[in-house]
């Protein structure tokens, strides 16, 4: 292999990395990762799997060597898919920042200022402040919050995901003035969001509020 040219450029059709993944446990559980280029030994670290996947997408999808290999229509499709994947990662990141860490400003990156939130049976609200207030209210009334995003589905300018939230009811929210019950409760639902210019402009949240209120003892069981 002594005759291998030193200035080998990356081959667009073949990439080789040593992938390392490790789990960090702290306030929240998170995966970290690194890749080591097989050709050069160069090592790159990533704070999250989303960041790592974004890097791999960039390496494989946006590499200059592939330009012209796809028809313009295929390229546009690829770009759209890419931005949907980026949007999914952004939604996940901002949701976890807001729900788990209380970093509500993270939502500014994802929601348009004038976005509209449909959340039956509650009245429709508008503006990013509405979602911030809601999460802040929930965070003041619940502790040990766990928020899990299920697999996301994206098509065109729409993304949908199922979620589940578990928490302990240890405080009072402005929207539901009942004393803390100390109960472990869960809220499950499916959310559909409409994206425009890289931000959520409309959200349809369908959650099991009846089951949630039954768990809290606010509404009696049926039947």
């Amino acid at each position: 292999m002594s005759d291998t040219p030193e200035n080998t450029t990356q081959q667009p059709d073949y990439l080789s990395y040593l992938l390392r993944l490790w789990r960090m446990t702290g306030e929240t559980v998170a995966w970290r990762g690194s890749v080591e280029r097989a050709q050069t030994g160069e090592r790159l670290g990533f704070g999250s799997l989303d960041a790592l996947f974004a890097f791999l997408r960039e390496q494989t999808g946006l590499m200059s060597g592939t330009e012209g290999a796809q028809s313009p229509a295929e390229q546009r499709k690829g770009e759209r898919r890419m931005s949907l994947e980026e949007m999914k990662a952004k939604i996940r990141w901002a949701g976890e920042e807001a729900w788990l860490k209380g970093n509500l400003d993270a939502l500014d990156d994802v929601y348009a200022a004038n976005y509209v939130w449909h959340r039956p049976p509650f009245p429709k609200t508008s503006g990013i402040e509405a979602v911030k207030e809601s999460i802040e209210g929930m965070r003041s009334a619940y502790s040990d919050i766990q928020f899990v995003y299920e697999q996301m589905v994206g098509e065109g300018s729409t993304i949908a995901y199922q979620y589940s939230m578990r928490a302990k009811h240890t405080g009072v929210t402005p929207t539901m003035p009942i004393p803390p019950t100390g109960k472990e409760v869960a809220l499950v639902g499916c959310v559909v969001v409409r994206i425009e210019e890289g931000k959520i402009i409309e959200e349809f949240e369908h959650s099991d509020y009846l089951g949630f209120l039954q768990q809290l003892g606010v509404v009696p069981p049926l039947g």
Binding site: P120, T158, A160, T175, F204, S207, L210
Partner: protein, 142 residues
């Protein structure tokens, strides 16, 4: 392309089942051992049990109509939203109250998981809270 075909089948089957009461329209679309999650109701397991569940709900309502919002699919999942409207003219096991004669509506979001071209698992998120408020069973909150 398979996803587009499934979307068409789902639309067709929902109309057959909920509007016309033709429950056998589910046979081709659903796995025999499919699972329906419709919180806060208990899970329903197996196509026969799902049909029975649907028949029970249908017996309490007439003039059912469904109106779709969006339907999207990727990989082995399809998610769609729709509104169901009907008149409450009978009594069902899931909600044992006498018929109110009221026109009621319920917003729903459904997520299905596809295995071998059929629905293996269905998650239905319906606004039961708003629905019971319309029927006067649960008072408005706040």
């Amino acid at each position: 392309m398979l996803i587009e075909e499934l979307k068409t089948k789902i639309r067709w089957a929902n109309r057959e089942v909920w509007v016309k009461g033709n429950l056998d329209a589910m046979d081709e679309l659903y796995h025999a051992d499919c699972v329906l999650h419709s919180p806060p109701l208990p899970d329903v397991r197996g196509l026969d049990a799902v049909k029975e569940h649907v028949a029970g709900i249908r017996s309490a309502y007439s003039d059912a109509q469904i109106t779709y919002a969006e339907m999207l699919g990727e990989g082995n999942r399809i998610v769609y939203r729709y509104t169901w409207r009907a008149r409450h003219t009978g009594q069902s096991q899931t909600l044992p109250i006498p018929p109110t004669g009221k026109e009621v509506g319920m917003a729903k979001c459904v997520a299905v998981r596809i295995v071998d071209g059929q629905i293996a698992e269905e998650f239905e998120y319906a606004d039961y809270m708003g629905f019971l408020q319309q029927l006067g069973v649960v008072p408005p909150l706040g």
